[in-house]
Symmetry: C2
């Protein structure tokens, strides 16, 4: 068995503005608590005991390949797949699976997001191994996260038949539910958060794409034929195929239609690190609930997150007096002040900057 890891690193990550930018998205940031590794670096580290560097594939936007390569100096040149244009996850996973299959027709692929936080790494690896073992048997397998709250921002998976060894059949995919349904899901014990982690034999996924997304499959075949003529032809065809293909997620395009889908429920201190609010939740906080960098001085203040990210931060002090539950993020060319509970609304700033034409701030 040749296990490949496909790391999805195409996110634009406006939710961590001003730290995240179009050319420096969330997965390249070191925002995980107690770590100075980028999120994508930590992702690759976490699977390094399962997958050697030459079997790690990183799928990102063509404009992000250079920055992503710099964040992952341990990976070879051939690990980096630059999508010519963004077309959501199905074309990207199809393409990466094609590459893995080309390198080893018996490849087993695990698809992992690049920008999540994992608190319990041994539990994470144990779940991965269960999921890989399930995928080896044929079925596309996904990890379902045991929900810790009635979250309305995530999709859910409903479990069906218990297949033993910690593996269940997937009964159905559920879109983001409303609050009452989310509460019902959590109570039921049968619903899990969709982690976006998928495990499959490369051949099985290619066949599923052939069945459910036949146009994409034709594109992948064209890329494969062009590859036989050399790298230039392959690059040209890849660009043409991505340009022509429609945007579709792997969930909608393949998973929800797959006849046989397995689920490995797991719990490993997962967070999608969706906003500055989650950075505060996961960070280490002082006795007044402030999550501060060294250069901060918080007086009669509580519940704040302060991120001092300027290159000259060592010669700078950020002083808070009498404020509560704010996020303050200071970078070389921007400063953000927003209540923690409105952290998602940082998108309003990004939109306003777009309207102003302040592209250098995006």
């Amino acid at each position: 068995m040749a296990l490949f890891a496909v790391i999805l690193a195409g996110g634009s990550g406006t939710r961590f503005w001003p730290a995240s930018r179009r050319l420096h998205p969330k997965q390249l940031l070191a925002i995980a608590p107690g770590s100075d590794r980028s999120l994508i670096g930590a992702t690759v580290d976490r699977v390094s005991s399962l997958v050697p560097p030459e079997r790690v594939l990183v799928a990102t936007g063509a404009h992000l390949v250079e920055a992503t390569r710099r964040a992952l100096p341990g990976l070879p040149e051939a690990s980096f797949l630059g999508e010519p244009v963004a077309r959501n996850t199905a074309p990207c996973i199809g393409w990466a699976t094609l590459i893995a299959h080309r390198r080893d027709p018996n490849a087993i692929v695990m698809v992992l997001p690049s920008d999540h936080h994992i608190g319990d790494e041994p539990a994470f690896r144990a779940a991965l191994q269960r999921a890989v073992a399930s995928a080896e048997q044929g079925p596309i397998t996904t990890v379902g996260l045991v929900p810790t709250r009635a979250e309305t921002g995530f999709g859910y998976l409903e479990s069906g038949e218990d297949l033993g060894s910690g593996v269940w059949r997937v009964a159905r995919f559920v879109e983001k539910p409303d609050r009452p349904r989310a509460e019902e899901y959590v109570r039921s014990g049968r619903f899990f958060w969709n982690s976006g982690m998928f495990f499959f034999r490369a051949r099985v996924m290619l066949d599923a794409i052939a069945q459910h997304l036949p146009e994409l499959y034709q594109g992948l075949l064209a890329i494969e034929r062009a590859a036989a003529q050399g790298p230039a032809a392959e690059a040209e065809t890849t660009a043409r195929v991505f340009e022509a293909t429609r945007s579709v997620s792997i969930d909608y395009g393949v998973m929800e239609r797959a006849a046989l889908l397995h689920l490995v429920p797991a719990s490993f201190g997962w967070s999608d690190l969706g906003s500055w609010q989650s950075a505060w939740e996961l960070g280490s906080r002082d006795e007044r609930g402030n999550c501060l960098d060294d250069e901060c001085l918080a007086i009669e203040s509580s519940g704040n997150l302060v991120r001092s990210l300027r290159t000259d931060r060592a010669s700078r002090v950020i002083a808070l007096v009498g404020v509560g539950d704010l996020c303050v993020v200071d970078t070389d060319d921007a400063l953000l002040v927003i209540p923690r509970e409105r952290a998602q609304d940082v998108r309003l700033v990004v939109e306003a900057l777009k309207q102003r034409g302040a592209t250098e701030k995006l």
Copy 2:
């Protein structure tokens, strides 16, 4: 009549931290609304039609002479008096009066704070002229500000006999009152804020010092004797006299004891600009009550003051989302976030930085 202006510029001004610093105090800042002039520059400009540059004396700390000179390039070298050590206002005014008297024994002196804001300059100059006319007749004269609120942070002057021509006798000085008394004062119409502006014949002030602060007077005589021996002897004696003299305010040491004190009530849009809160009150605000610099983006935010004072501010954006009534002050080496109503508590930061030994931030 030779009219001299003595500008008091000894303030340390921690209340505008992080903009104000030990070596860059409030009077050197351009914090007045709609002006890019320093407060002291605006002060000198305001009296330039009444007093020529060579009759302007600026009394500041020895350590501030260089920075003060740079802020006032229109004044000659001889205008700057560097106090060897701070001893409150009486020694400083006594010394400056001595210098004015040396240059012209018939000198009339007006003493003006360097760090206040004047909204109505014609009214201000008219009040000055009334006060100078009163001082010419002999009595030490002060400007009393018509109170616009029951302020408990200022001293008051009670008016006595009406002497005509907009001049009254001072009945008494009153220390900062409590709230009920302040309200009574405002209602009475007989009480005025002590502006810290004084007008007198130099000879009259020197005689008053001789009477009420005889030790200081002896010191001034010693300086005058030393001056006859040359600048080095004068500087040496001045240092010795300041070192030996006790700290005392002109109010307590002279004014409250003077037999004959006149008062010119006036109203000219005065503010002591005592904190970031006053900067907000005086500043121009948008329809949501935000007082913002150009580089700011305020989304669903109201009542905020943002001061973008970094040297690289043009390439920086300060974004507020969903916050209200905050002061955000951004400088090259510090950032402050504090509610407007707690603006006075910026002193807590200054104290904490002192305790940390972060002298470069003070």
